[in-house]
Amino acid sequence: DAGITQSPRHKVTETGTPVTLRCHQTENHRYMYWYRQDPGHGLRLIHYSYGVKDTDKGEVSDGYSVSRSKTEDFLLTLESATSSQTSVYFCAISTRRKDSNYGYTFGSGTRLTVV
């Protein structure tokens, strides 16, 4: 399986402070994604990347920015955290294997609490 790690696993921050979440992959997969998960909403796409310095917005991108300066790292930044951004954040990568056309690997999630 593709290696994917998210950091930190948990974070509590104050309203108005900047926060950066990191997603790191150990293989050279092109597509990476940030989702947020909230009760009653499932997983919603925040931003995605299709290569180094190539990113685009998802369904719920307001208040978030991303950067991808290296293939292996995809960073999600909350410039000024708000309580509505309290959520669980998942990073995912799109993988291709010989035995299947499409697959996805998810990180273990980051629980972010904005107080």
Binding site: Y31, Y50, E59
Partner: protein, 117 residues
């Protein structure tokens, strides 16, 4: 954008029984992929089953099978011989074949499955 609807926020099943989770989707595309993911309390996202829209045969994985009705845009998951370890949140997801959204998965809101002894 494609919409994925899971109309059952919660479901309950007794151990060893069979349960069916519903999923409908809205799309104008003729080819796409559909997925069911399981999320236990550990938060891990686990692929349960995947269906290619161009395949008429329903996908199966051991105790898990789908009923894919393309014309009705329905993709239900059947879990047979339910086990306590099946208790989790289940998400239905859609994947387009065009690159406009970076091939991102589009998820439903989820169904929480409770398995009782």
């Amino acid at each position: 954008a494609q919409t994925v609807t899971q109309s059952q926020p919660e479901m309950s099943v007794q151990e060893a029984e069979t349960v069916t989770l519903s999923c409908t989707y809205d799309t104008s595309e003729s080819d796409y992929y559909l997925f069911w993911y399981k999320q236990p309390p550990s938060r891990q996202m686990i692929l349960v089953i995947r269906q290619e829209a161009y395949k008429q045969q329903n996908a199966t994985e051991n105790r898990f099978s789908v009923n894919f009705q393309k014309a009705a845009k329905s993709f239900s998951l059947k879990i047979s011989d339910s086990q306590l370890g099946d208790a989790a949140m289940y998400f239905c997801a859609y994947r387009t074949l065009n690159s406009n959204s970076g091939y991102a998965l589009n998820f439903g809101k989820g169904t929480s499955l409770l398995v009782t002894p």
